[in-house]
Symmetry: C2
Subunit: 320 residues, 2 copies
Amino acid sequence: MDLHTYLEQTADQVDALFNRYFGSACDELGRASAHLLLAGGKRLRPALLLLAADAVKKGSSADVMPAALALELTHSFTLIHDDIMDGDQVRRGVPTVHTRWDEPTAILAGDVLFATAFEFLCLADAPDNAKVRATSLLARTCVEICEGQHLDMSFEKEEDVSEGDYFKMVEKKTGALYAAAAGIGSILAGGNPNYTDALYHFGQGIGMAFQIQDDLIDLLAPSEVSGKDQASDIREGKKTLIYIKAREKGFDLSQFRGEIPGENVEKIISRLEDLGVIAEVQGIAEDLVRTGIRRISILPDSEEKDLLKELGSYFVRRRY
Amino acid sequence: MDLHTYLEQTADQVDALFNRYFGSACDELGRASAHLLLAGGKRLRPALLLLAADAVKKGSSADVMPAALALELTHSFTLIHDDIMDGDQVRRGVPTVHTRWDEPTAILAGDVLFATAFEFLCLADAPDNAKVRATSLLARTCVEICEGQHLDMSFEKEEDVSEGDYFKMVEKKTGALYAAAAGIGSILAGGNPNYTDALYHFGQGIGMAFQIQDDLIDLLAPSEVSGKDQASDIREGKKTLIYIKAREKGFDLSQFRGEIPGENVEKIISRLEDLGVIAEVQGIAEDLVRTGIRRISILPDSEEKDLLKELGSYFVRRRY
C-alpha cells in the first residue's frame, strides 16, 4: 500500500470512530468538546502510532486503536487551549471553540478531551504493565507540550532567540507528541526497549521536521494553497528557524512585524532565497528526518517500516 | 489517633512532598504550576485516599502516597482553571495564578498539574492492573468535574434550577473527586470490588455533603472566621441548595443579587431560619454523610474505618 492510501484509510477510520463516540453529544460541553474532533484533520499522530505498533508486531494495530485515538484527543486538547492563548478565530475551516462558544467552555472542552485521552489509552488491548508505561509517557509528554507552548509564547517578547532555544521549544511543543505516538505504539505492541527508544526518537525527529516544514509553508505557500494567511509568522513576529537564520545573516525580519503588503512577501522570499536561508532551513528539516530514519533501521524489515520512512520524507516534502 | 491529629500529620506530609517535588522550579511555568500547591490547604482528598487504603489493607498508605498526591494535583488543576472562569482574584490567601501571572500561563499551569497527576498515579507501589483501573477512574472523574463546573456556570443564567439539577451538579463537581479518592485508595490497596464500591459511594456522599456545608458556611460564617466574603453566593446569584429550598418556600434570594449591605445578611439569615431552610439544608448534608457511613459498614473494623466515619461527620460539623 502506498503512504497516501494508508493515511487516507487511517483518517477515515479515525473519523468514523470519533463520529461514533462523540457525534451525538446531548449537552453543550459535549458538543464543544467534539467540535474540533469532528472537523477532520490529517490524523498523522494516530497513523504514526498504528504504523509503529505494526512495525514492531505485525497485526497489532487493531488492538492499539484506542491509543491512536488518545493521541489525537491529546492533540485536539492542545489546539483548543492554544487557540485561546493565541486568540485564533478559525481552525480546520471552522470557528475555534472559544469563538463558537466562550472561553470558559473552551477551557473545559480542552480539559474534557485531555481526560478522555487517558481513558482511551487504558482501553487499548495490551498488557497492563505496557498501559502503565504508556500512561506515564503520555502524561510526561503533556507536561513537555505545555512547556513548549510556554517557551513559544515567551519568545514573542524576545528578539534574541538562539537556534538552541528554538530546538528546545520545537522538541517539546511538536516533537514530543510525535515521539510519544511512535513510542506508545511500540510499548503497547510489546516492542523491546531498543525498538521503543528508536521509534521514540524517530517520532521526535520527524515531528520537529514537521514543525519546521510548517514554518516554511507559512512563508512560501500562497493562501489559496494553504488555506491560511501567507507569512503570518512574520507579521506576528514569531521566532521561527527562518527568523533566526535570517537574523544570523543580518536580515532582521522583525522590521516587518505588523502588516506587510502582499507584494512585499515575494520580495522577502527572494531576499531569503538569495541569502540561502530557505535552503538551509529546508536542509535542517531534511537532516532531522534522515537521522530519524537511521534510528529505525534496527527494526525488522516490513511494509510498515517502509511506510514509516515514507511518512518521515512526506513530512518535509508536503507543500500544505 | 484523633482525626484532627491525623489530618494535621497528613497535611504536613503532603506539604513536605510538594515542597520537595515542586519547591525549586527554575522557570516561570514551573513556578506558576507550583504556586497554589505550595500555598497549603487541608489536603482532605489525600487524607481520604490514604485512610481508604489503610482501611482496606493495613499499612498500605505509604505505598499509595503518590496517588494521594495525584488527587491533590487534580484538585489544584481544577481550582486554577475554575479561578480563570470565575474571575477570582485570591485563593488560599495568595493571588490566583492568572492574577499573579496571566491567563495563558494559568491555563498551561493547570494543564501541567493535570498531566502530573497521571504521572504520580503511575508511581504508586501497586499492581499494574490496579494502576490501570485507577487511571481510568481518575480520567472519568476529571470529565465529570468538567461537566459539573459547566453545569454550575450554566445555572447562573437560569432562575429555575431544581433540587435534582443541583444534586447532579454537586455530585459531579465535588462528589466525584472525593469518590475517586476513596475508590482509588481501595483499588490500589487491593480492596475487593465490594469494598471499592462502598468506599467510592462513601466518598461521593461525604463530598457532596462537604459542598453543601461549604454553601452554609458562605452564608453563616462572618468574614473574620471564614476568610471569605460573607454571603458571596447570594450576591453572585449562585444556585445553591439554600437558594433552591428558599425559593420553594416563596423566598426568592435572587432579589439580593448584586450588592447586599452587611446588616441585610443577618435579616436574610433570620428569615431563612424562620422558614426552616437552614435546618433542612443542614439535614440533607447530614443524611448524605449518614448514608455514606452506612455504606462502609461492610469494611472490617479498624482505627482507619473509625477515622473515615469521623471524617464524614467532620465534613458537616466544620464551621470554616
